[in-house]
């Protein structure tokens, strides 16, 4: 009896051990031998589950001046409408019911054609119904009409900062991905590959317990918080659009930035588009010219030339030169904008009166090598802004031996830079000589709620502090004494400004005599700057100079920022 019992126990044990060995062996084969293959299969199931569920994507936020986050891009929830042609008894009545609540739906003929195709069982006929409209339609209980939950990308501000925020699209695949702007740049952060947890939980387990517990994907995904202030952005957009309309310009744009940190507070271009309705948008409008287009900016480059000359020691603030109104170099003639000969004058008059001869004189004092070095430091590499498709400056003329190319570059012709490169270079004058990294995003908020502050390179010093102080002072003299004879001077708050007017280049490499690119740069308070503003308008039709086209909206923006941020003379700093 005892022997039989022992025998049975041993058999049971052997069976248990055998099963355990089989399971262990199978686990070894699955996890070690074919681990990679099964992992891939699991990941495919994981993705498929996500795609079949409701669309999901992280949000992008503006940041108000008091730190509140306001949605720039988010998800809207509502309903889509689908029909089952096999069950649909009265297509005309169904169409009338659907079109009564849906803002966009198929045309009646397309709807009836789809309803007549009895081979189909599911045809989506309307999207993006509001919750109320969807529930109203569902309550009608029309046989063959399905009302299903739906989520879609929505931009609450409409066209507000739209070229910076970007859009999503299908691209080459079946998944919505970022196609431009921050949607494209931060797509890995904004995408949500997790999908429906119920559907993919076992796929997650078989993808590896480690990645289930500590998911790198989960740590990467989150919401994007920008430095863009919505009210300032709205004001800038309004001013840029009004400026463009007033002068029937080809295009216009503007950037407002903190010159000390490179944080971009607002940036706008015109023409623009509404990202919530892309059906008739020209794809070229998706480009952001502030980072992707290069322009010859004209005389605002004189401030950069002046700072380079002062910083290098080639000139000093007390240097003088004899201004003859025009002069010849390499067989070409260079003249002041008004052909006036100013005689022997100090450096600050070059900035105050925007003298081409003076800028050329500084270029000659600098010499080719030093001028090329300064311009290469300022414009030779991309700024590193966190927006896609950043272009690089065209500085080819500064590789040539002829002096005229350096002379023309000194007043902003023959070299082309992007608006973001230009404002960064001017910001170096404002902030004491350091090249900052312009940026639009300040932090990422992970799905777990943790905030990851982004740090941006503080950049390298390009100008001495004294050179930038002296240049800022000259630019302040322009604003307070020369611009409309000091009409716009603001008591207690010094403003530094430089205006620019450049002839537009022709396709053959010459210049139009009657088509211009107007621009202005301003930073204030001059000696403790909070803001730097760059505005431009391309090919204005009824004005020539930047003082006519740009100055009015620029003055409006300066006063708006002073009032909105409560800037007082106590914050202005001093010139010494």
């Amino acid at each position: 009896m005892r022997a039989i019992f022992k025998f049975r126990v041993r058999v049971v044990l052997m069976v248990v051990v055998g099963i355990a060995v089989l399971i262990a062996g199978r686990l070894y084969v699955v996890q070690v031998v074919h681990g990679t293959r099964y992992s891939e299969r699991a990941k495919q199931q994981f993705s498929a589950a996500g795609q079949s569920g409701l669309f999901d994507r992280g949000s992008i936020y503006f940041t108000t001046k008091d730190g509140t986050h306001v949605s720039a891009a988010t998800l809207a929830t509502g309903y889509l409408v689908a029909i089952n042609p096999r069950l649909l008894a009265d297509p005309t009545a169904a169409y009338d019911a659907i079109s009564a609540v849906a803002t966009t739906t198929l045309s009646k003929s397309a709807f009836l054609a789809a309803a007549a195709n009895k081979n189909l069982v599911y045809v989506e006929v309307a999207h993006e119904l509001s919750t109320a409209a969807g529930q109203r339609l569902a309550a009608e209980n029309i046989t063959g009409v399905e009302v299903l939950p739906e989520r879609w990308r929505w931009y609450p501000g409409g066209s507000l900062a739209t070229k910076t925020i970007g859009v999503v699209g299908y691209g080459t695949g079946s998944t919505l991905i970022g196609q431009s702007g921050l949607e494209e740049e931060y797509d890995p952060v904004l995408e949500r590959s997790g999908g429906d947890l119920l559907g993919n939980f076992f796929a997650m387990l078989f993808s590896g317990a480690g990645s289930t517990l500590v998911s790198a994907q989960g740590a990467r995904e989150g919401d994007v918080v920008t430095t863009i202030e919505p009210e300032v952005e709205s004001r800038l957009m309004d001013d840029v659009a009004a400026m463009n309309a007033k002068h029937s310009s080809h295009s216009s744009g503007g950037i407002i930035m903190d010159p000390k940190t490179g944080a971009i507070i607002a940036l706008a271009t015109y023409p623009t588009y509404n990202p919530n309705n892309l059906s008739n948008v020209n794809p070229q409008l998706l480009e952001n010219p502030l980072v992707s287009h290069v322009y010859e900016f004209g005389s605002i480059m004189k401030a950069v030339t002046m700072a380079s000359g002062l910083s290098s020691g080639a000139i000093s603030a007390t240097s003088t030169y004899d201004d003859t109104g025009c002069f010849h170099v390499d067989g070409d003639r260079i003249c002041n904008w008004n052909y006036h000969a100013y005689g022997v004058i100090p450096m600050k008059v070059i900035i105050m009166q925007s003298l081409n001869l003076g800028a050329s004189w500084i270029a000659e004092q600098l010499g080719h090598t030093r001028m090329r070095d300064y311009f290469t430091k300022l414009f030779g590499t991309k700024t590193g802004i966190d927006l896609p498709n950043e272009a690089t400056a065209l500085l080819g003329n500064l590789s040539k031996p002829q002096q005229i190319y350096y002379d023309t570059a000194s007043f902003g012709e023959g070299v082309a830079v992007t608006p973001i490169e230009m404002i960064r270079a001017e910001a170096a004058i404002a902030n004491g000589g350091v090249l900052v990294t312009p940026h639009v995003v300040s932090s990422i908020v992970s799905q777990s709620g943790q905030t990851k502050e982004l740090t941006w390179a503080s950049g390298t010093r390009v100008f001495t502090r004294q050179a930038t102080r002296e240049t800022a002072s000259m630019m302040n003299d322009l604003f307070s004494q020369v611009l409309y004879n000091g009409k716009y001077n603001i008591p207690g708050i010094p403003v530094s400004m430089k205006t620019g007017t450049a002839q537009l280049p022709t396709p053959t490499g010459t210049y139009y005599n009657n088509r211009f690119f107007d621009d202005e740069v301003v930073f204030f308070p001059s000696y403790n700057p909070r803001f730097i503003i760059l505005l431009y308008t391309e090919d204005p039709k009824n004005a020539i100079y930047g003082t006519d086209t740009i100055t009015p909206p620029m003055i409006d923006l300066i006063h708006f920022l002073i009032n909105y941020y409560g800037i007082t003379p106590a914050m202005a700093g001093t010139a010494s």
Partner: protein, 103 residues
Amino acid sequence: MRKFATVPASSTRPTFSAVPVLAGFVATFGVAYVALMAVVMTYAALTVEFSQSVRSSEAQVATLESQYLSAIANVNSTNYAAEGYAKPIAEVYVPGSRATALR
């Protein structure tokens, strides 16, 4: 005379059997497995439900934010002169009173 079976002293010690121990392990693991499955499924269901709820709330907040941004655009595009307001002829800066009693 009745004979009694003699049992060696050593055989009176309790014998160890692996069967009940293994059965205990199996039962424990089985219960734990079912419990874990229940917890995991509940967790997943709640997570999905909360996620949907958060998204719905976010969409409602975004609707309000849209109205706020629209109001800003309206204010910016208002023609104050047409509304009867005049530009100030001068602006001066005066010390503002503190919002709190703190000094």
